[in-house]
Structure formats: C-alpha cells, structure tokens
Subunit: 160 residues, 2 copies
C-alpha cells in the first residue's frame, strides 16, 4: 500500500531486553530530500531497500522497493553526512505492532517508537501505553531524515 | 552495473523518422535532489522505475529498480514542478547504441542523445557522428533533473 498511516513517539521507558526480543540492525543513508519528499537506502545484514516518503503528518505516501546489497553499497558513499544507525525491535501493543528503534552512533541514547494503522481514525483513537513518551509525529526535526542530517533536536515540550 | 559511463550531446540534425523507428514515451518526475544525488520516477505506458543517480561527469553511479505503476502514480503528485516528458528512440551508431530523446511539453523542440560506454577510455575515444551536436555531458543545466526543474537553458557555446 502506498499510503502509510503512522504515529511516532519518543520512548519514556524502554521495554526490557526480554520484551524487546531480537532486533535487526539497520544503516540508513538519506539520498536526497526536496520539498515534501525524502529518499533513502536502508541496509540490514543481508538485505537492502530504496524507500521514498512523501507528504507530511500522520498519512504519508511511502514506496519501498528491494535493491541488491551491491547496488545499495554503491549508493552509500553518496549519503555522507546524512546517515543513521539503529536496532529495530517489534513489540506487540494494543492496537497493533510497535516498531521500537534504539539509535546508535551519534544518536546513541535516543529511542523512538512508531505504530502503523489501517486508518486515520484508528491512528487518532490509539491510546499509547505508559512506556510511550511524547507524540512527535508532527514535530519538526524528528523524522529519521532530519535526525540523520541534523542530529538530535531539543526534546519537545512535555517530554521527560 | 552500478556505474554508468555515458556522454550526452545536443542533436544537431535529428535522424529521419525511419532511422528513429518506434519510440517509447516516458514521463519522468524528479522526487528529490540533494548534493550530487538525484532521484526520479520514470513511467512508460506499462512500466515504471525508481532511479537514483549520484556523482557528476562521465562516470556516475546509477541504480534503477522497477516499481509498480500504482506505486509510481502515488509518488507522481509529489513531483510537481520537477517533470518532463519525452520519446526515446534507440539508434545504432559506431561504438554503441545512441539513446535519442525528443522532448515534449514545455521542452518541445529539444533533442538530446546519450551513448553509454563500457569504459572511460571508450567514452573518450568515441567519435560522434555528424548529426550529433555539442557535448553537454559536463555542462550545467542539461541533466534531465535540471531540465525538469528549470527548463531549457541557453544553448552552450559551439551549438547551432
């Protein structure tokens, strides 16, 4: 589906290692951003994808296509200064599956969590569990593209 | 192959319709450009691709992956102001196959031709046929991304 309906939060209290389970390590390099479009490569240990995200807010257009590791690595040098690394964990919450990201490298210490929904109504109705922090879905500077380019911003009002 | 070695020229005298043969119509919308990277979608009558080009000059990194028409159309609205249309024809020349582009819409009247090579040596050794015009491989403003965003620039010195 080309429309992704998603909310993103800071993590107030990271789940235990047991609750997190086994994560997947990703490197993400942002190829180019312009207007409301951002394009990236994502590389795991053995797979890679090109992803295009367009639009702002809860409902965005997202297209992701697999690409060979060799092709992804050939693009990687062109993402210098626009990169991040993270481990992603899938945690079940009421209303869906939470994608918990523990950032590494320059963003170490940062955790975020995203939940994808089937409709904007479901997104609006979602009651975040207590371990979720502030909703950063529409807060500037907290997209992965922004984090990769400019690092971690000031925490938004209401955090911590 | 992720490295594309290519030279691009204006067309001094377009080949006859017979020599051009049957073309393929493409719409190209540029998703985002940043640094030396540009990303686009290309849509023909029945296929579509996401393409990433990085670097400058004769040898560039290029990765192209097929994407569904539905996914490509979902991204198209996000390329407003960064589009072009053309018909592409394949014409045999000594040293390879020339990709002849006849632009349409706001760029109507413009023709360019590209030839891809196996090595930079072969690219340097290429003797363009008489119907080729000025070499625009390294002339600013003549990439398709630039043409789509800013329209046709002044013709470079030596043209016409």
């Amino acid at each position: 589906m080309a429309t992704e309906i998603e909310r993103k939060f800071l993590v107030a209290r990271p789940p235990s290692e047991d609750a997190l389970g086994r994560g997947v390590h990703y490197r993400q390099g942002y190829l180019a951003g312009e207007g409301d479009v951002d394009t990236r490569i994502r590389i795991s240990d053995d797979e890679a994808w090109i992803t295009v995200k367009a639009g702002r807010g809860v409902a965005r257009t997202e297209v992701e296509v697999p690409v060979s590791l060799a092709a992804a690595e050939s693009l990687w040098p062109h993402t210098a200064g626009r990169r991040l690394e993270k481990d992603r964990y899938l945690v079940t919450v009421e209303g869906g599956t939470a994608e918990v990201d523990r950032y590494a490298g320059e963003l170490a210490g940062l955790w975020t969590v995203e939940v994808e929904f089937a409709s904007e109504e479901a997104a609006a109705a979602f009651a975040p569990p207590a371990w979720f922090g502030v909703d950063i879905t529409e807060v500037d500077g907290w997209s992965n593209g922004a984090l990769a380019r400019r690092g971690r911003p000031e925490d938004p009002p209401g955090s911590g």
